[in-house]
């Protein structure tokens, strides 16, 4: 690995100052993505600012009934936290569906938000990749694209967003708190990740010197009845081909509340607004679920390797909603 200077930041002010003053510096959390990318030479920081000593590792209930998750809460702790299990089961399930237990013990919530794509052409430094090297092209578009996105794609990039956690956060209307030397601001998860467009190397709304300090979950009357379903090539420890985060409320046979987001199929954690619109007020039936899924996937564009995901996503959405209707919450 390329040598770098190391600084362990004792407080947030020191951390954000250190990165603001040094354009070659990067924050280091659990290391499960950044250390790997540094070893392959895709990330090449001159200075690594270790933030794991910062006091940002608590999950706290807020007065409004929502929850504030510190950016350094480890993924495994988040999934196991009693408040998350009971009130936001979709988030527990999504986190548990990702990576391995070892990685979840290391990976932080902030790091998961900033996790980079697992597109094999992004990782292969001999391949053309506009995300890794702007302007170099995209070998995935004409290559092996079985794992790639069908929603939110551009002519520059079709890399799928890899996170499970973020899919649940998208469905839960999470808000990301970020801090820099300029102060604190809040970014809704829906605008945190950017679609690739012509600049696939710009992946989030953050400036390089902004530190994720927390994720806030607003109180949600429907989140207690929520589930995550992940479809993948192996039973465990694999990235999603398709995943669905869903929360559902049904009264007198009609859908009175719904939140839906998709993973594995899109370039960003994909809030399924079209499907939600189709579902609200509709009878809670298999037919409505299917029609909502079709509405969401209508703009999907597949390539020879990944067109199968479009029908797979329709079925996964339908099946997840059906299970929520018939079995209810996993909490």
């Amino acid at each position: 690995m390329r040598p770098f200077a190391y600084l362990s930041a004792p407080d947030v002010a020191t951390a954000v100052r250190a990165v603001a003053d040094d354009p070659g510096a990067k924050f280091l959390g659990g290391g499960t993505n950044l250390v790997d990318l540094m070893r392959t030479g895709i990330e090449r920081p001159d200075t690594v600012v270790d933030i794991t000593s910062l006091p940002l590792a608590e999950v706290e209930e807020r007065p409004d009934g929502g929850v504030r998750i510190g950016a350094l809460v480890r993924n495994g702790r988040l999934a196991a936290h009693p408040l998350i299990r009971a009130r936001y089961p979709v988030l527990s399930q999504a986190v548990l569906a990702g990576a391995s237990a070892q990685l979840r013990n290391m990976a932080t919530v902030g790091g998961n938000l900033l996790q980079r794509t697992r597109c094999p052409y992004f990782y292969d430094r001999t391949a053309a990749c506009n995300k890794r090297e702007p302007g170099s092209g995209c070998d995935a578009i004409g290559g092996f694209n079985r794992s790639h996105a069908v929603l939110g794609v551009s002519g520059s990039c079709i890399a799928a967003h890899p996170s499970d956690m973020c899919v649940a956060l998208a469905a839960l209307d999470a808000v990301v708190e970020v801090e820099s030397v300029r102060g604190v601001r809040r970014v809704p998860l829906a605008s945190f990740h950017r679609p690739p467009g012509d600049t696939p190397h710009v992946e989030t709304d953050l400036s390089p010197d902004e530190l994720v300090t927390a994720v806030e979950l607003p109180p949600s009357p429907i989140a207690a009845n929520s589930r995550y379903r992940k479809v993948r090539d192996r039973a465990s420890y694999a990235f999603a081909l398709v995943s669905v985060a869903a929360a559902l409320e049904v009264r007198d046979g009609a859908v009175t509340g719904v939140a839906l987001a998709l993973g594995g199929v899109a370039t960003t954690p994909w809030r399924a607004r079209e499907a939600e619109r189709a579902l609200l007020g509709a009878p809670a039936t298999e037919e409505s679920f299917r029609r909502a899924a079709e509405a969401e996937l209508a703009p999907a564009t597949g390539l020879p390797g990944n067109t199968f995901k479009i029908e797979l996503a329709r079925r996964a959405v339908t099946a997840t909603l059906r299970r929520l209707l018939t079995e209810g919450s996993p909490a």
Partner: protein, 172 residues
């Protein structure tokens, strides 16, 4: 160079390391603790699994400097000087290995896994997230151990060994 004070298997070691040295390389190359194996070196195989304050981690993705002051336990610490840890002996009895390269990681991971299960942590196959007294079924063992690959395919023996050890521990 940074000075890194590691606590490994109950002993203190002070090392001068470049910050890019992984915990795995520090254990193997600097401390001579070669029981912990380097498989993929990218967090995909679990061969490098060790315990940090009792929690299982992939030591290949851990910078040694980030683990200063934490209590690191490797297979050498688990084995002790006698006939081996009961879980090691269960692996031998149940053919939980062929080549043995993944075994150190499997055993560290299994001990971490049993602690997580004992603390009531759910897994991706747990039906009811908030249920008490979660049974450690074979399905649960397989899911919870999915971060440790075995290229010899000794998975059936590994599950048998872990189940046998966990049952014996529950008896005690």
């Amino acid at each position: 160079m940074v000075e890194v004070r590691l606590r490994v298997n109950g002993a203190e070691a002070s090392l001068d390391l470049p910050p890019q040295v992984s915990l795995l390389d520090a254990l193997r190359e600097r401390l001579g603790l070669t029981g912990t194996k380097k498989g993929c070196d990218q967090g995909a195989c679990g061969a490098c699994t060790v315990l940090a304050d009792g929690e299982r981690i992939n030591s290949c993705l851990a910078l040694a400097v980030q683990y200063a002051g934490r209590e690191i336990t490797t297979i050498e610490g688990i084995a002790g000087d006698g006939p081996g840890h009961p879980l090691q002996r269960a692996f031998v009895r149940n053919d939980g290995l062929q080549c043995g390269y993944c075994t150190s990681g499997q055993i560290c991971s299994a001990l971490g896994m049993l602690a997580e299960h004992g603390a009531g942590m759910p897994s991706a196959v747990t039906e009811h997230l908030c249920a008490d007294g979660l049974e450690l079924s074979d399905e649960e063992i397989r899911e919870r151990m999915s971060g440790n690959l075995c290229r010899c395919g000794a998975y059936n023996g590994i599950v048998d060994a872990i189940r046998e050890f966990a049952a014996a521990e529950a008896e005690r």
